[in-house]
């Protein structure tokens, strides 16, 4: 019988999709107020793999990724998603989102996004939120799965997440040294 143990804390990674680049500052500030300072920020990435969001948010849409300095408990992902939903709500105009916010957690083994939409491969976390196993780390790189969103399967975003993973290793090492009194 395995003995249950708490997992290592995870790196919080949040993606923003928006059309109006002027909203990046206020949206990032809202995220920083909730989750602390970012430690990695991506440049603008194209987001033209689907027109799902365009009906609501317009076009062209672009993406930015943030990772945050403070590690989070893996069990907090649903709470984080509810908080980012509230932040999305602050930017609504006529009931339409102007900012889409996708939070996820990154560990050595995987990258998991939170979503409110059920699907065959998604696991229920509670409070209306599901976990989407988006990328697996194998062979020295994050690997997409058959259901991975196309932009997460592309090199720029995976490259960013691999850099965040390197930072995560550094963070955990620092944390372990601190606990050991080094």
């Amino acid at each position: 019988m395995s003995t249950p143990q708490p997992p290592k804390p995870a790196k919080l990674v949040i993606g923003l999709i928006l059309k109006d680049e002027a909203l990046l500052g206020p949206a990032a500030e809202a995220l920083e107020q909730c989750f602390g300072m970012p430690d990695m920020v991506s440049p603008w990435l194209s987001f033209d793999f689907t027109d799902y969001y365009q009906r609501e948010m317009g076009a062209p849409l672009r993406r930015r990724m943030f990772s945050f300095r403070a590690l989070v408990g893996q069990e907090t992902l649903s709470e984080v998603k509810l908080e980012t939903n509230r932040i999305e709500g602050r930017f609504l105009v006529d009931g339409h989102r102007r900012v889409n916010i996708d939070p996820g957690i990154l560990t050595f083994e995987r990258f998991v996004l939170a979503t409110g939409k059920n699907y065959t491969h998604r696991i229920y976390l509670g409070r209306g939120i599901f976990a989407d196993l988006t990328l697996l780390f194998s062979g020295g790189a994050f690997q997409p799965l058959p259901w991975t969103y196309p932009d997460y399967a592309q090199a720029p975003l995976r490259g960013f997440l691999e850099e965040v993973r390197r930072r995560y290793r550094y963070d955990l090492k620092g944390r372990e040294n601190q606990e050991a009194g080094c």
Partner: protein, 57 residues
């Protein structure tokens, strides 16, 4: 592992979200707009605003 050009293409300044570039010594990432240098330690870029050093320091 040296910081690659590829890395520069996947990172931005956490303060202004603008472009960064590798300094001449190869040990820091520079944001001209914020006049800040983000140190690279153990091949990890430390992209923290409160740990960044002034470019002119």
């Amino acid at each position: 592992m040296a910081i690659s050009e590829e890395l520069l293409e996947i990172l931005a300044c956490p303060k202004c979200k603008g472009d960064i570039f590798l300094n001449e010594a190869g040990d820091g990432l520079v944001c001209e707009h914020c006049r800040l240098v983000y140190e690279i330690r153990d091949d990890i870029p430390i992209m923290l605003i409160d740990e960044a050093k002034p470019l002119d320091g």
